[in-house]
Symmetry: C2
Subunit: 201 residues, 2 copies
Amino acid sequence: MQERAKTTRRSLLETAALLFAERGYAATSVNDIGARSGRTSGAVYFHYSGKEGIALAVVQARFATWSHLAERYADEAVPPLDRLVALGYDIANALAEDPITRAGARLWAERSTINAPVPDPFALLTAAATRLLAQARLAGHLNAHVRPARAARALVRAFFGVCSLTDALEGPAIVTDRLSDWWQLTLFSLCPVHPDPPTGR
Amino acid sequence: MQERAKTTRRSLLETAALLFAERGYAATSVNDIGARSGRTSGAVYFHYSGKEGIALAVVQARFATWSHLAERYADEAVPPLDRLVALGYDIANALAEDPITRAGARLWAERSTINAPVPDPFALLTAAATRLLAQARLAGHLNAHVRPARAARALVRAFFGVCSLTDALEGPAIVTDRLSDWWQLTLFSLCPVHPDPPTGR
């Protein structure tokens, strides 16, 4: 793809993410996306074949962000549970601050109003968490009653509740604090000894 | 209010709850509610002054259900953490099976499309959970690091994530199982000794 076309595509995607995050899917039009990005609605149709197409591209871009985040925690020199906690804070920060991630979350929540299947990111996160818990087990850092795959599934869903409800009830700025409260409770049940409660960045 | 008027009001409310739970707020019309309940749209306007009014009445009816549930767990003869777990299963069952509760949850999720403030039920649940954790502390059934109000807030949000994501990803029938996984992790961090992992009803 030509450099100029790439720039246009990215600019349209970022504008669409801002609008979807701010107003939701139903209240955002192809015209809005074109106008706000200083282009035309024709550009949206040309590069993404319309509103559904650009919404799904935003969702895919969010997955790419999360895959990169998960890869950053592959370094086996760091204790696995520390990596799990750090990954959780990174995702919470992205949910609070990154327009692509916020838009992706809102589009998933509004998926019943979108005329195409919207994939969910939870399998990806659950796989990453399962891997880290299994590594913690090998390192002797996991309580005996914890089963990695089951625990990872429960943790990802609980984590989603803490982040999304805190954002909805108290705003994005407080998410990291509330997440610390939750990690403090949760780590105690994962790890035989964990003297220092975790904190956000 | 006359008996007949009461019956009509209740029938309209239950029909509206079924439709809101099934189709969401935007896709449900006053005509649909009137027709499906064997009455007219005029009855909806007369008893609830329209779609917003009947939606808010559904939300209030859900709060009433949850208040009743919370009151059932006031019996101090039962250990407080057992009551907390039982209350959680009751709410999860209501979320999976009771149309009023399902509709209330969906209306709250879709609150940005409703032209009136939709109150949330989380303060009510957090207060109930705080009370039970404080009683557990007095009974010596709470780990020293757990602070009731903070822990209750985190627990309610995590609980919401486990229930709502499981329902969305795997359907309502599996919610109780996934909730058991989560309770097992969570109780371990709340309680110094808890030999028997909890199970659903």
